[in-house]
Amino acid sequence: MSADAAPGPAPSTARRLHDVPTVPGAPKPDPILVADKVSRRFGGLTAVDVDHIEIQRGVITALIGPNGAGKTTLFNLLTGFDRADTGSWTFEGTPLAGKPAYRVAHAGMVRTFQLTKALSRLPVIENMRLGATGQRGESLWRAMLPFTWRAQEAAITERADELLHRFKLHALRDDFAGSLSGGQRKLLEMARALMSEPTMVMLDEPMAGVNPALTQSLLGHVKDLREQGMTVLFVEHDMDMVHDIADWVIVMAQGSVVAEGPPDVVMADPVVIDAYLGVHHDAPATEAEERQQLAEVESRLEKEFSSPDDDSEAAEPALGARDEH
């Protein structure tokens, strides 16, 4: 763990985290997102059961945990892509629980996805333009009257071009997004999210599937977001990266928050090491392990047929490998 590679303590807000106790659900001096008693069950299994969580404004917070810990599910709940069984949360003081995903985005909380969602058969520039909010021409009636939205469209295009330059995608401006490489798609998705001028960006595994050459550039962009005053919450597996850019780390295991604190503190925490080593069985190393996994799947199938109400996600721990690779 290369402590010297860590960034200098970022703006004043990050420094204010020094006084925050390193306990799960610790209160923050200036939280942008506060969630209480958020739970989501699939069949008989609890995927998420978070008692209390606060995200500090203007810093980069990492959300880590073993497969099936419920990180992506929590993301889905907070951003309106899944419905929580219980719980409430506020973003900048506005309650968002139960709000549809597009309202969440309108409120200024924009997310990306683990499996990149580039809009393949649209050119890169159209992907970007789509990200802008409050477009007049998105109303059905005004759409038919181009003169009502032409000026705004030009302004949006200008902003999109600037962002494309910044993300070094400008040469691909008129290519179909589907022709981009995995890393370029991640960049495009991030740039597109910025088109909506969010206050908080939620990145679901921004580094997954990105070739090493692009990693540094992506890292730089994430840090840039903080410099520009945005709040970042991201899910990541790569501990070096977490250590490198996160100001604060929240650890989840089996659906709840088990630890939080600055990267150095958290990574030395025995609870965290336990959580990782205890449940971790990502990528079976031997044939025996592989057979063991198949047996698990089979026994789960048996169970499913006896209890029809089960959900596929009930098996997140067993099948986590599929989703989080």
Partner: protein, 432 residues
């Protein structure tokens, strides 16, 4: 897309089509070519009594008087209930059914039908329908009617389940919504008719032959068309549209050879008087066979290695493949078994109702309803869904007209999609 695979797919496609033609030609040898309608105008129709259990019995010897454009003529129904009156030219005509020539136990369902009047256009053979039903003498108490309809529904539900299991299994293992599944039912019905009625093969042997023919058809279809398409990485939606094309093509080829008029098996079996129910011996036998086969499918899925592999593929093909399961072999098996069961279901349905080129497609949406109701992709769901749909359709005829009984089932299909899209036994999928 790789250029190399195109000729292979073209070749295999040609193979499927050729195979289809051969199969149909074989059937056509025993079925006369469709009657070509004449070029002059005429009025025609078929008089059938529609009994409470939806059997259609032709009514012969009924007189229909035609009048119009200075012309007067009369038609008499033959032993198939068919009648036809040639006209001197286009124009407006009336057709009046002489109710005194109807048998005593048969009545006109809707007095407004008689007389019919309307336009006959140039070159058209206008079809006039008179709906006939059972006379009042046969009506019974509500409970009796529910039992009676329920028994018919149970029979239909079992046969529907037999036909729909394959649809569900194929969806489960490959994600494909197979619109051409209907044609496998039709194929079974028509081949069964050809074997048993055309060639005089005993019914039991004919059923076995249909089962084998269906299996062969399913195997060949997957080998020649679907597997190559999967290999090419053709998406699910394009494949679904290919099944629609195949369905339209196969149905029109079959209809070109068998004609459009429905046929009935000449085989008759006595009615078993069991309370108010009026099912025949054949009905009980086909229900028994269907139930036994469904139990066998369930056993295979739950207890055998192949069945477990099938369920593993349905659950997660990638993981199943990674675990050493031969996904292609599983899918091939599913196509073979599914098509065989659908074909047998078609023959059994033909035995109790009629066979025609449209029989499969007429029940396709009911199969979808059954599969969706039970939960897409779960074999057990399809079985349960089919039984419910079958009984619901038949019992509902006590309240709604028989003619639109399927509307109820289709409305339920849409309702289920609203309330519980994963069906009764299905699982919800992951979002995001």
């Amino acid at each position: 897309m790789a250029i190399g695979v195109v000729p292979r797919v073209a070749r295999t496609l040609a193979l499927v089509l050729a195979g289809l033609f051969v199969a149909v030609l074989a059937g056509a040898a025993f079925a006369p070519l469709a009657q070509a309608s004449g070029s002059t105008e005429s009025i025609r129709g078929t008089l059938e009594e529609r009994t409470a259990d939806d059997e259609r019995i032709p009514v012969p010897g009924v007189r229909i008087a035609i009048e119009g454009e200075g012309f007067e003529g009369e038609g008499v129904t033959d032993e198939n209930g068919d009648w036809l009156v040639e006209l001197p030219g286009p124009g407006s005509y009336t057709a009046a059914l002489d109710e005194s020539t109807l048998p005593d136990e048969v009545v006109l369902r809707d007095a407004e039908d008689n007389p019919w009047s309307g336009e006959v256009r140039t070159g058209r053979s206008q079809v006039v329908r008179f709906n006939l039903g059972e006379g009042v003498a046969r009506s019974a108490s509500t409970l009796d009617r529910i039992l009676e309809r329920g028994s018919v529904g149970l029979r239909f539900g079992l046969l529907l389940a037999l036909a729909a299991v394959g649809l569900s299994l194929i969806f489960g293992t490959t994600g494909l919504t197979n619109f051409a599944h209907a044609e496998q039912v039709t194929l079974g019905g028509l081949l069964g008719y050809t074997f048993a009625a055309g060639m005089g093969v005993p019914l039991v042997l004919a059923a076995v032959m249909v089962l084998i023919a269906g299996a062969l058809f399913g195997w060949t279809q997957d080998a020649a068309l679907w597997k190559p398409l999967r290999r090419r990485g053709t998406g699910i939606i394009p494949m679904m549209i290919v099944t629609i094309g195949l369905s339209l093509f196969a149905r029109s080829v079959v209809q070109a050879f068998y004609g459009s008029s429905p046929r009935s098996f000449p085989h008759r079996s006595p009615v078993v008087d069991l309370g108010p129910t009026r099912l025949t011996v054949y009905d009980y036998v086909t229900m028994g066979v269907a139930a036994a086969l469904l139990v066998a499918v369930a056993y295979v899925l739950l207890r055998t290695r192949w069945g477990k592999a099938t369920r593993a593929v349905s659950d997660n093909p990638a993981l199943a493949a990674a675990s050493g399961i031969n996904v292609d072999a599983v899918v091939r098996g599913v196509w073979t078994v599914g098509a065989a069961l659908a074909a047998l279901g078609g023959m059994f349905l033909g035995l109790s109702q009629q066979v025609s080129a449209q029989m499969g497609v007429n029940m396709l949406l009911l199969m979808f309803a059954a599969v969706v109701l039970g939960g897409l992709g779960t074999a057990f769901g399809a079985m349960a869904g089919a039984l419910i749909v079958g009984v619901f359709i038949e019992v509902s005829t006590i309240v709604i007209p028989t003619e639109i009984k399927n509307v109820g089932a289709l409305a339920i299909l849409i309702l289920i999609l609203l309330v519980r899209p994963q069906g009764m036994l299905g699982r919800r999928e992951r979002v995001g």
